[in-house]
Symmetry: C2
Subunit: 281 residues, 2 copies
Amino acid sequence: MASTSSQHNTYGPGHAIPQVQHHEWRTAENSAAHLIPHLKSTVTQNPHLKMLDVGAGSGTITASLAQYMPSGQIVATDISDDILDRAKFHADQRGIKNITYQRASVYELPFSDASFDITHAHQVLTHLDAPVDAIREMLRVTKPGGIVSLREADMRMWCIWPEIPALKKFHELMAQSQVANGGNNMAGRELLSWALKAGARRDDVEIGFGTWCYGTERDRGPWSASMMERLRNGPMRSKALELGMATEKGIEEMIEAWRTWTVTEDAVLGIMNGEAIIHKA
Amino acid sequence: MASTSSQHNTYGPGHAIPQVQHHEWRTAENSAAHLIPHLKSTVTQNPHLKMLDVGAGSGTITASLAQYMPSGQIVATDISDDILDRAKFHADQRGIKNITYQRASVYELPFSDASFDITHAHQVLTHLDAPVDAIREMLRVTKPGGIVSLREADMRMWCIWPEIPALKKFHELMAQSQVANGGNNMAGRELLSWALKAGARRDDVEIGFGTWCYGTERDRGPWSASMMERLRNGPMRSKALELGMATEKGIEEMIEAWRTWTVTEDAVLGIMNGEAIIHKA
């Protein structure tokens, strides 16, 4: 029996736009590349496919995926109505019409068994206290022969240059607060393990890793802006102070370090994500 | 003035075949994917292109790249004649005829300025004490309008599951001994910085990250076999004991941990690599 959403932790980062605006840098190409070949082959077999995008957030990946399946339909869910409004605005601006929006918890998806050809989640499980239940529920609503597609950061795997000490501290704070919020900072490497626990057979799971790279000022800017905003006004700040993970002074140093890093010519941040395709038997 | 090879450190892992056999798992597709689009476009413009593969080792990537350029020519270099003999054997077995082999140091490449359309190195700079000199020398032998392609592990970025304590210790030992050998355990994130120091302009460098994933028993097996062999008979063992980084008992535990990991159904190792394409001005 799947646990209900009310028993679970809440979304750690919160949904305040300035703190999650870096999510809007994300596209199918830079954040769901592992899914694209499977999506293309599904579209070839069935142009009218149905996709569920769980925890779609501000929906830039959803809108990007929608363009690969012009005759198909995507349902985008999230636990926040506000963020779904923003997702709808983004798609409307681009004239994308094949997405509908619905508030829902991943633990209790309001859909019948075997409703979707593809069920997709990106950076969702890492925030959950019961990721295996979530995968089980995603498998339930997926058609036999369909796929569940997952991509989750391994938050320990941040590759920062230059190694400014305050950025190393920020990374530790990020990884610790993820766990303090009830999430997991090793989701990327655990995807296979979780998929097996959710009932998938080993031969039905394809596993791999993909990366994000912030190595130009244009890419570093939006990233840093969101991280600085989290440090100024986000739950990350209050949690860090409450749990003694950082001081006011330490937080100011982190903000200054992101500012410096953004304009440093050879600065790079690489983040490693686990990627899984589960073939529903 | 580039430093000469005799002033430099030697290749840490050594060239004993059982200890480097996992290198032979590598192909253009799993280890030089960032180069393939550039290679294809160069081949379209000039089918008779010339490529230099620096530090080609046992040559499986070289042979794999050669198949994308059937009318082109590759020169494969390494500091070890024995490993080049093995590379030649590998290519001969596959009927690949457009590769020649030449012993050479990356610091003193025996070629005129502007000899090659593409100069490629994979897991070379991470082992060097003067990586910037090496890139400068690679740029020298590359034609204006050509490219230098680099891919180097960021050895700190190992994503291991399950987190068997002896494997975490192995990883620390690997990262430490890399530095003890005169190499660098953050090469992946430093590629951009090194390219700029070697004289490239920021706009001429494309930077990104790519991964290896060992998540099936077929992939884990060759990896573990080489790591166990390094622990049994390699310079890694002698260095670890000499510098007090591990005990005989600790080393035995690491060997046993790799054995267990190999046959664990949900076991995964992900490794993050920096990737750079430098456009020669």
